[in-house]
Amino acid sequence: MTSAIEYEPVIGLEIHVQLSTATKMFCGCELSFGDPPNTHTCPVCLGLPGTLPVANERAVHFAMMIGLALECELAPRSIFHRKNYFYPDLPKGYQISQYDEPLCRGGRLGDVRVHRVHLEEDAAKLNHVGTSGRIHGADASVVDFNRGGTPLVEIVSEPDLHSPEQAREWLILLRATMRQLGVSDVNMDEGSLRCDANVSLRPAGSHELGTKTELKNMNSFRFVERGLRAEIERQAELLAGGGSVVQETLHFDPATGSLTPLRSKEEAHDYRYFPEPDLVPVAVTPEMVEAARAQLPELPAARAQRYERELGLDRDRARQLAFRDELGDYFERALAADGREVEAPALANWVGGELVARIGEADPAGSKVAPEALAALVDMVGTRAVTTGAAKQVLDRLAAEGGDPAAIVEAEGLGALGAGDELDGLVDAALAANPQAVESLRAGRGKAIGALIGHVMRETRGRADGGEVTRLGREKLGL
């Protein structure tokens, strides 16, 4: 009877990012998605005899921007290698990739170290026809070379992640960073961002690494988290049962959430890497580095920090707005709206909370709610010109048909009711309508005031100021 050992997961991610260049990595074919099969090919990307690759200048530029954004060291001279294996989606019988002399080495993003960043070419698409969608069992497949040769950047993290949640978070930060750089569509469903993971377990506190497995095909943030959780459980059970983990590649099946060992492309796993003789080394000049640096925007991690430190947003709200750059941009435009003294944290809550609740994933810039309008509304709440409840109604209208909040408040008569006859009368009516509440109040049960407030709010559709109602009510009862 041994008490269960605590295991600590050790996770490293390997991310492939399709670059949003105009053309492929080594030929002039235009990139495409969802176009008819084999309509974006040429002798080079079909691997016809005699053809040669020529590297895409912008792909190198984008890779350098990524390297700089991830605080990597850029190699003054890097070379391409050939990774040799046979597969129908690989027209030349080798993938041109970078091996032991990559473009970027050793950086970090957030609290995770980046091992390397390198350039390579994407494989074509193998569409399996026949019995099932998965390779196994299908009798015939058809190759579509439209995607073949798309520029890819492979980002390999150090095994610094220790939970599925943390891995998911980091991946979201990475995607936000890529989007901010404008180097990729980073769309996981379309495969422009793909994530593989290495996972191993070790007894908590120990430092040597256990045997790791590789997880593939986790093509959504949710799947990354689920896949990792499933694999960590699997390994934990194995170890707990006195078994041991075998190094293998597992395929995550989103449908069942299960992990199945993948049949390897080259069972001998001998890629026979050697320097690609058809390409010359990539020599990074100071001018190239400067050009890349000059195009770096403020990155999500820095933006979130700025929101926390300078604008006093709480961490989660800051990250929400910073990691979805369209939210951040909208927020900042609203903040700048004609010099109003809006409270940044309040405004942030309205953008990240109420507005997002109404427009969902959509870009707020495209919504009917002008940033200036939201700023004005939040300002009115701040100056108690409208109550929070009424402001939410105003926002409903703004989201539906746009317009100017002040005008809506005016037209709808949603302005807050301050002291004065109108409210006075309403309180009298409330007292009259709620004798028991009056009893209770007199008997010192302060809570009963709620009934009075509720009554007034119903009558005023939320325009009344609860504090004012309380004050008046107690005064009238001489309390």
């Binding site: 005699g50 040799n84 026979r272 003789p277």
Partner: protein
């Protein structure tokens, strides 16, 4: 009057410009010859005469024989292999493009060793080529069809490719001129690759002047070939008639009989060295300490690159496909087993082995270091000498079938030509008189981009040697 086929290309061009001859006459004469060729030099011959090029075009419509492995749009380009039988590419190789734009007209595609792997042209899926000097003998390889066609007067000139000697050695064995340019001089785009870091295209011609003329229209940086280079100076036609002040280095390692150089070849070589001195050259021995290891390095690097370059022949997008009933794996294995000939399989195996896990450092990695040493050897020699001269081939043309069962003996034919290929430097082979009634070749090699100087020296020696480059014609 002399037949068009007896003229060099330059002579023919001059007559065309003088209005004494029409390109149509030249083309028809060559086409007729090519059609009843008994040497098996061609894999395809143009059915009809192309539109006349303007006479003022640099190549004035001269017919050109093109090695099979150059891709030519709509014309069979099979690299001498069964796996590409009948393959007609959708594009044309840059080098061929440049030549046709300069006024060359494609007369024929020439036979070759499969994927340029061979030194005898016996490795062609379309049958061996015969040597016009003795049809029982090989023309050399891998550009054997191009060499035989030019030597037999079936084409005014031809282009071929040289990876370890595939232009120079057949030129020597057929008694013509062959130039292997500085690596990067001529675009490789559209050349079906054998060994990418070594392959270079070049001319095979009757004389040195034709070589310079054809070469001058092939060169230049090509945006489609990352490894191609702009030349520091344009290619000039050679005029030099003496060798005054020229320093010729004779590397013991590549010229001694001890190294397998036939006595007859050695004698012809020595006779030419004496001629060179009479022309004013200083001839002295020099050392290339690592040259003897060139062949070993070459037979690791070239097959390794070839094993990867030939992986694309998988039965999916073009060429032969042999299906089995056991799925993809069997389709690959059978397609390649039936599509490739024995020598190609041998080299794919050798190259795959040299790159395989655990062997890379001992073989491919080491070979690349030897390559560095050989390059350094040449650099050192060229500090004291203008050129290095050697026999091109250790032997004269050998008999068909005499070496097919002994790969190693066959590989030794490249002994003198491989070091220059590894160093990426230019080298020419010119006819160097006969031995046993068969042509021998003289190789002149210089530093990178020294083609103009090499051609000048070759021009001077060519005149002094006075070789009559015409085997008895059939």
């Amino acid at each position: 009057m002399t037949q068009p086929r007896d003229l060099t290309a330059k002579q023919a061009i001059e007559r065309v410009r003088a209005g004494e001859l029409s390109t149509a006459e030249v083309f028809d004469a060559c086409q007729a010859g090519a059609r009843d060729d008994e040497l098996n030099a061609f894999t395809w011959v143009a059915a009809d005469r192309p539109a006349d090029a303007p006479p003022d075009a640099p190549l004035a419509g001269m017919p050109l024989a093109v090695k099979d492995l150059f891709c030519t749009e709509g014309i069979p380009s099979q690299a001498g292999s069964r796996i590409l039988e009948g393959y007609r590419p959708p594009y044309t190789a840059s080098a061929v493009q440049r030549l046709t734009e300069a006024g060359a007209s494609i007369l024929a595609k020439t036979n070759q060793d499969e994927f340029a792997m061979g030194s005898s042209n016996e490795n062609s899926a379309f049958g061996p080529v015969r040597n016009p000097w003795d049809r029982a003998r090989v023309p050399g390889g891998s550009s054997g069809g191009s060499a035989a066609a030019v030597a037999a007067g079936l084409a005014p000139w031809a282009i071929g490719t040289d990876t370890g000697g595939s232009i120079r050695q057949p030129a020597a064995l057929c008694g013509i001129v062959g130039l292997k340019p500085t690596y990067g001089s001529v675009s490789r785009f559209g050349m079906i690759a054998f060994a990418s870091s070594l392959d270079q295209a070049g001319p095979l011609t009757r004389d040195v002047t034709d070589a310079a003329l054809l070469f001058s229209q092939m060169v230049g940086r090509d945006p489609r070939d990352s490894t191609s280079l702009e030349r520091p100076e344009p290619v000039a036609l050679p005029h030099r008639e003496d060798l005054r002040g020229v320093r010729l280095g004779v590397p013991e390692e590549l010229s001694a009989e001890a190294e397998g150089i036939e006595p007859g070849v050695r004698q012809a070589f020595e006779a030419t060295l004496r001629l060179a001195e009479e022309l004013g050259a200083h001839v002295e021995p020099c050392r290339l300490p690592h040259a003897a290891h060139g062949l070993s390095a070459y037979y690791l690097i070239a097959p390794a690159e070839a094993s990867s370059n030939l992986a694309r022949f998988d039965g999916v997008r073009y060429g032969l496909r042999v299906d089995g009933d056991a799925g993809l794996r069997e389709m690959y294995g059978r397609t390649r087993a039936e599509g490739f000939g024995p020598e190609v399989k041998r080299r794919i195996m050798l190259g795959t082995y040299a790159l395989a896990a655990g062997y890379y450092d001992a073989y491919y990695g080491r070979a690349q270091r030897v390559r560095t040493k050989i390059t350094e050897d040449f650099r050192a020699v060229f500090e004291d000498f203008d050129f290095v001269v050697t026999p091109t081939s250790p032997t004269v043309a050998f008999e068909l079938g005499s070496r097919v069962d002994d790969p190693l003996a066959m590989y030794l034919s490249d002994y003198c030509t491989v070091p220059m290929s590894l160093a990426g430097i230019p080298a020419i082979s010119i006819p160097n008189g006969l031995s046993q009634g068969l042509p021998t070749g003289l190789q002149i090699a210089g530093p990178a981009f020294s083609e103009n100087a090499i051609l000048d020296a070759a021009h001077a020696l060519e005149a002094a040697i006075g070789f009559d480059g015409s085997p008895a014609r059939a």
